[in-house]
Amino acid sequence: MGFASVLLAPFAYPFMVRGLVAAVAVGAVCAVVGTYVVLRGMAFFGDALAHSILPGVAVGYLVHRGARGPLLAWALGTAVLTALGIGAVSKRGELKEDTAIGIVFAGMFALGIALISTVRGYAVDLTHFLFGNVLAVSPGDLWLTLGMGGAVILTVVAFYKEFLVISFDPTFAATLRLRTGAFRYLLLVLIALTVVISLKTVGVALVLAMLVTPAATAYLLARRLPRMMALAAAVGALSGVAGLYLSFYAGIASGAAIVLVATALFLIALVLAPRRGLLWRRRSRAG
């Protein structure tokens, strides 16, 4: 089997083509939004949000009996509500933010598992929600993913300078009369949207990796934010493609394969990155 046929073989199947397009889109969108997750230290929030959408997915699953379409709408509703809820709880300041997030996160996740477990033979479906199944992406799912992903990216680009200044220096942003609170909620909603479109590809348990790992890789390599976003998107998309091949040929679960590739790329950057990499630091210490 020649190299070209190794590359092309998986795409004899239409579901593989859809899976590939979805993996690339999700990888890129997660990475761009993930740039702010990394820079603002919101990794725990992102993970919590991902797990919290499970009850929404479960209700959609119970109400619509196997019909996959409305599932994303239920997930989206739950995600946005959770994001705004966590935002409101942590703003009050009675509890520390990570405690508030932890309570909401674990409670919602448990509710989701409880709901799904009312269905006989639920384990298979639960596994799909937790770890994704990129090969089950329907044409309708794909269009929804591309549309929502495009909207997320457009929003990030349109409010680039506002998100930049609010993330870098919030007090200064307040003196500019920027609506810091509104932009903070907008960012939470963008993260929620991103988590929802990642549901099929990597699942709720692993979406954190797609938010954080490519963005962290880019952080090690870039000196300016636009470059960091572009690099993160490239790393995310590449992880999607390479992960799908790994999944196809090694028979590994697709979501896990994508995340493993992203992790490997991060480790390479961690060692080799100019200025911030381990080798560079060791050399500059020695010299």
């Binding site: 820079l39 300041g93 349109a158 409010f159 300078k161 506002e162 930049l164 200044v165 993330s167 870098f168 220096d169 919030p170 007090t171 200064f172 307040a174 003196t175 500019l176 009369r177 920027l178 952080y219 870039a222 000196r223 300016r224 934010l225 470059r227 960091m228």
Partner: protein, 279 residues
């Protein structure tokens, strides 16, 4: 855009200054959260072009006062006016964070940070134009770091980082500049350089409030506010920094030493973690 050309007369972004209003006015301002009082009964006024040192021990409310003036924090009681307006309605206020509060690994260059000063004037969905870029370059040159414009911000020395934020205030065309501990962690020549720049800002008619730990530098500025949650003294430094008042502000944290040339006063000068910093 025409309005900007007449900014001095018309106030910021077309918001006219209230006639006869002081540049800064605080009336009986208090800030509390939880059971904790950060500031109480603070009242003072500054004219345009005043340069005020805000001095006090850790937790005295210096950062809180600056954040109230910046409009980032609403006072629990009392009123704050900048040229007769609430701070939130006035974009000519520049706030310079403590260096210890800044994420220096953030992927921005020096030029990117100074350009942030233009964002309030650009408005949403607008990209910087040639005029904005020109002001940024002029501000960088004015504070003497034009040659560092393309550096990532971590690659600057402490003094250069502080100059960068002053350049941002210039690019913003600020009329009120608030600096939180700008001298902390700098060596003496760098500290002198920053103080010279502040004097230059003042000569351009900007009103400057600077929170300081360094009593010796504060004593060289034209006005001082001694703060320990409530104001203990306000006015020319020789009237404010009297042994009695300093002891009242610093308590056991202050040592007064008799030297051949006069009194030397040592305040608590550690400021890595200001207890009055906000979440």
């Amino acid at each position: 855009m025409k309005l900007l050309a007449h900014r001095r007369a018309d106030g910021c972004r077309g918001v006219p200054h209230a006639p006869g209003a002081p540049a800064v006015e605080l009336r009986d301002v208090s800030v509390r959260w939880g059971g904790h009082t950060a500031l109480e009964h603070v009242s003072f006024a500054l004219a345009a072009g005043d340069l005020l040192a805000v001095v006090g021990p850790n937790g005295a409310g210096k950062s809180t006062l600056l954040k109230v003036l910046a409009g980032a924090l609403a006072p629990t009681a009392g009123e704050v006016r900048v040229y007769g307006h609430r701070p939130g309605g006035h974009i000519c206020i520049a706030y310079l964070p403590q260096r210890s509060q800044v994420d220096w690994g953030f992927p921005v260059t020096v030029r990117d940070v100074v350009m942030m000063g233009r964002i309030g004037r650009l408005g949403p969905l607008r990209r910087p134009r040639a005029g904005d870029r020109g002001r940024v370059e002029a501000a960088l040159a004015r504070v003497g770091i034009a040659h560092l414009a393309s550096r990532q911000i971590r690659e600057l020395s402490g003094g250069e980082q502080q100059r960068m934020f002053i350049a941002r205030a210039l690019a913003q065309e600020a009329e009120l500049v608030l600096l939180d501990e700008p001298l902390a962690g700098l060596d003496t020549p760098a500290q002198e350089g920053i103080l010279d720049l502040l004097a230059a800002l003042r000569e351009q008619g900007m009103t400057v409030l600077v929170a300081l730990h360094e009593l010796d530098f504060a004593a060289r500025l034209p006005k001082a506010l001694l703060l320990h949650r409530r104001p203990i003294g306000f006015g020319p430094p020789e009237e404010v920094f009297t042994p009695d008042r300093l002891r009242e502000a610093y308590g056991a944290g202050l040592r007064i030493i008799h030297t051949p040339t006069g009194l030397a006063m040592l305040g608590d000068s550690c400021c890595a973690k200001d207890a009055d910093g906000l979440r």
